[in-house]
Amino acid sequence: MSNVWESVEPRVYESQIKVPYAWQAGETASRFLLTLKNEKKFLGKKCPKCAKVLMPPRKVCPYCFVETGDWVDVSDEGVIETFTVARRDTGIMPLKPPFVYAVIRLDGADTGLVHLLGEIEPGAVRAGMRVKAVFAEERTGKILDVEHFKPV
């Protein structure tokens, strides 16, 4: 395999694909994101069949495949289900490593939320810890309007 390069030099064609996207959140997620922005409140949607409160909210319950029903208030506090400390910079990360990536179950929700932890040493994080949302001063209607969760 190596001797092929005695008579020819490898040519590498370098390029990049840059495609702008505009992802529609849809009515259900839009309502959630605007409430988060304007009222600093989390909303879930309850499935009429399995009674699970889905947060992030969905128009359709993924478990039962029926349209979800009522909006339900969900607390801005909850518990760490699991976590990891991301230590290697992959170049496309929300923060500079090391940072804590966690799955958080907010009180009143039956599904988790992926988010970041702050105001705590990474080594001190434990599953089961109670945490609370810290909102950004300037909010634009996206999930990062919550800057991070901090220990209660």
């Binding site: 395999m1 092929v4 390069w5 490898p10 590498v12 390029s15 694909i17 996207y21 992802w23 959140a25 997620a29 992030p56 969905r58 993924p62 289900e81 699991t82 976590f83 990891t84 400390v85 991301a86 230590r87 290697r88 992959t90 170049g91 496309i92 990360m93 929300p94 940072f99 990536y101 966690a102 799955v103 599904t111 988790g112 939320l113 992926v114 988010h115 970041l116 990474p122 599953a127 996206k142 999930i143 990062l144």
Partner: protein, 387 residues
Amino acid sequence: MARRAAIVATGQTHHRSIRRDVNGQEIINEAVTRCLEDGELTIDDIDAVVIGNMDHFEGINYVDCWSVDGSGGFMKPTMKLTTGGTTGSTLAIAGYHMVASGAFDKVLVIGWEKNSESDTTGAINTAFDPIWDRPFFAGAIAGLAVTAQSYMDMYGATPKDAARVSVRDRRHACLNPHAHLRKEVTIEEVLASPMLADPVCLLDMCPRTDGACAVVYAAEGIAEKLCPQPAWVLGVASRHMYSYVSDADFSGGALFSMARASQELYRKVGIKEPLKEIDVIELYQPFSWAGLIWIEDMGLAKKGEGPRLVWDGVTDLGGALPINPSGGVISTNCIGATALIRSAEIALQIQGKAGDRQVPDVNLGVATGFGGCLWTDTLAYGKKKPE
């Protein structure tokens, strides 16, 4: 009633971190040529082609068309499938279904990837929801690490237990001339390797690889004539799960889709005691911890007792149920090919063609696939044609 079908030929490249000497079509051609030679077939024997990879790794979205120099798909029915990590097992299941349905007699199935050609993390990022998951994307490693963390928390397993899995697979890889990383490691070396995402270290993780794999599925009546020992498909089962990462129940780190798919596979094949009845497993194990957790989900050990099975040597070559004699995914990971290599390796084991990594007397082997939002494919192969 579906027709019975079997793998009659396999081929794979000698997997490497980077193959500068071949382009994408050429690396595919290498695996296909080896596969056809193995089965003493020509491209004219092939009725249809199914090919797959992960689009964003090479940035080519019409692979079915673009790859005909490699696949031999010119003027044949050809389609492309992409399902993330499970691409290779989806390909295998599709090839099997195409033959079992009666639509085609001989189907060439190809999985490939030139991971060296792009930014793996950037490409994997596109597999996650842009509004809910991508803003926090901490890499595929962090996504797996959270399951290991839950498993440790619930059962008290340690990084040393996971390191033992890594030691096993990396030792097996030294016996496989096709494997990418062929270097033995010690438990101490695994534990001392850089921490990527707690508790997962560099030597717990799979690499990124350039490589390709091809297999031919043939129908009963034809398979026996083409091949002295076809690897018969005994059953397949597939389970998909979630939209968003956080939908999963992380308690204990269990892979719910693996438990469900395995149960269905065992029911279809008639397996009552998997640990006793299965002779070899090629587990799609992207990191060492999966070699502890997922074998419990497969019903090989009780919850929390996977480490015991591994420490006792049961899953080593020479043990009662060897896992990953090929060296597995942590030794070779050309992503679109990775799950297809699992099936190819089981076929080699059944055919007695696995060389230094041969497990004696393989009558029943299981291959698995794993992908994105925690989904699973399982495939069982046997020496005897199923009744």
